[in-house]
Symmetry: C3
Subunit: 208 residues, 3 copies
C-alpha cells in the first residue's frame, strides 16, 4: 500500500522530468505527454515485455496514463516555475527509483523458475529503462550509461531485497529496509557526487 502511493507519486515525478526534456527539445504538447509517459511507465513496460507478463500495468490500470499525462501537461504550463522544485524532485526521483526496483523484483519473483540474480536484473530494468527510453527518443546517449550512481543504487536495492527474502526475513521488513537503504544510498551519491569508474578514452582503437 505504501509502495502503491510512492509508485503514483513517482510516476508523476518521472513524467514531469520527461516533459521538461521534451520542452527543451521543442516538442509539441503530444510529444511532451508521450516523453513524460515513456519516462514514467517505460521501465515497467520493458520488464513486462521481457518477461511476457500481460496485460501491461498501464493497460490493466489506465489511470496510470491519466497521472502521467496530467503531470506532463501541468509541467508544460508551469515549466518556468518547475526549477524551484528541483530538490523536491530529486528526492521523489530517488524514492521512485527504489520503489520501481522493489516492485519490479516482486513481479519477477512471481515467476517461480526465475533465478534470484535475474530477479535483481528485472528490478534494475524497472527502475532504469524508463529514463533510458526517454533519452533514446530525445536522441541522446542515455544519461544512466554515462553518469552517476543510479543503476547501481537499483542493483544494490534489488540485491538487498531479494537477499533478505531469500533468508526468509519478513516481507514488510525486507521492503522497508531495502527502501530505506536504497533511498539513503541514492541521496548520498547525489550529495557527494559519487561515480562509477570510467575508462575515459575517446582515442582508444576499436575493432571496426
Amino acid at each position: 500500500m505504501l509502495l502503491y502511493i510512492i509508485y503514483l507519486i513517482a510516476i508523476s515525478a518521472e513524467a514531469m522530468s520527461g516533459a521538461i526534456m521534451g520542452i527543451r527539445r521543442e516538442m509539441d504538447l503530444f510529444g511532451i505527454c508521450l516523453i513524460g509517459t515513456v519516462a514514467a511507465l517505460g521501465g515497467g513496460t520493458v520488464r513486462d515485455i521481457l518477461i511476457g507478463h500481460y496485460p501491461l500495468g498501464w493497460v490493466a490500470h489506465p489511470e496510470y496514463l491519466a497521472f502521467t499525462i496530467c503531470a506532463a501537461i501541468v509541467t508544460a504550463v508551469a515549466a518556468r516555475k518547475m526549477h524551484h522544485f528541483k530538490s523536491a524532485f530529486l528526492i521523489v526521483d530517488a524514492l521512485g527509483l527504489v520503489a520501481f526496483t522493489i516492485i519490479g523484483c516482486d513481479i519477477a519473483r512471481g515467476f517461480a523458475h526465475f533465478n534470484p540474480f535475474v530477479v535483481v536484473i528485472f528490478g534494475m530494468i524497472t527502475g532504469v529503462f524508463g529514463g533510458l527510453l526517454r533519452d533514446v527518443l530525445c536522441n541522446e546517449i542515455p544519461l544512466v550509461l554515462q553518469r552517476e550512481v543510479y543503476a547501481s543504487v537499483s542493483l544494490v536495492t534489488g540485491g538487498l531485497y531479494v537477499g533478505m527474502l531469500w533468508l526468509n526475513i519478513d516481507a514488510s521488513i525486507s521492503t522497508l529496509t531495502a527502501l530505506g537503504v536504497g533511498f539513503l544510498f541514492r541521496l548520498l551519491a547525489i550529495r557527494y557526487h559519487w561515480t562509477l569508474p570510467k575508462f575515459n578514452d575517446k582515442d582508444i582503437r576499436g575493432f571496426e
Copy 2:
C-alpha cells in the same frame, strides 16, 4: 475489405517514405529495405508486442514484407523521380494513418477487458509508432513529437470510431465515418499548417 486494400497501399507508401529517409542517410540497399519495412510495419508490431497478440501481422502474412521490400527497392531505383509524387504521397499517408488507427483499435477491442481509452491509445500507437521507430533508427528526434497535427488526427479518429461503436452504431458506418473525418482532418491540418501548442523554451531550467 476496403480497409485491407487501403492497408496494402498504405504500407507501400510508408515503406517508400522510409526508404527515402534511408537513401538520404547514405544507407545501403539492406538499410533502405529495413527502414522502409520498420516505417510500414513497426506501428502494428509495437502494438502487438504491447498487447501480447501473437503471431505478429507480418509473421502470419509474410506478403506484407514482400510489399514493403518491393516498395523500398522501387524507391531506391527511382529516387530522383519520387518527389513528383509528393502530393499523392501525402494523401496516401493521410489515408494510411487513419486506416492504421482503425485497424489498431479493432485488434485492441478483441481483448474484452480493455478500457475504451486504452483502445484509442493502441489505435494511435498503430498509426504513429512506425514513423517514430524509423526516426530513431535514422538517429533523429521523432518528427511526430515535434511537428504537425499527426498523432492528434489518430487520436481523434480512434476516439470517434470507438465512441460510435460504444453507442451501438453499425460497424461499417462507424468505420466509414471515422475514416472520412480523420482523413479530412489530416488534409486540413496539412493545408492550413495547423500545429499543437508548443512551449518553445530551450533555456528552461530542468532537474538534472
Copy 3:
C-alpha cells in the same frame, strides 16, 4: 554442441565490441556492461519478443549474462591492449554472425506455422539486431544499415540452411554447410571490401 560452444565464444566477443564502443563514448562501468550485454544478447531477445517465445534465453540461462558482463569488464580493464586482437575479433565476430543466424532459424522453425521466408528473417534478426540496438543506445545510425556485407551474409546463411532442411538434407550436414559457407562469405566480404549498392544522394528531395 559445436553451435553452443561457438555461441558462448561469440557472445563474449560481441560483448567486447560493445564494451569498446561504450568506452569510446565515455560511459561508466555500468554503461559498458549494459552496452556489451545488449550487443551480445539483443538479437536473440528481439527475436524472442517478436515470436512471443518465453522465457528469453538469458532468463532461462543467466550464465549468458555472466559471460557478457565478465567480457565487458575484462575489456574495460584491458582496453588499451584490445586492438592487438583485431583480426581474431573479426574472425570470431564472423563465426558468431553465422552461428547466431542458424540458432535463430532453428528457434523460429520450432513454430510450425512459420513460412520458411519468415524463418530466414528471424535468423537475420538474431544475427544483426544486437549490433543495431548497441548503435541506437550509442546514439549512432546503425552501422549495419550503412556499410559492408553483414546482414546479407546472415540472409544467405539462413537461406542456405533453411533450403537444405527443406530438401530433407540431414540437419548436421545442413548446419555445417551453412556455417562454412556463411563464414567464408563474411571473410571474403571483409577481405575484398564488398558492399551492397548505395544510392548516395543526400540532396534527394523527400516527401516531408
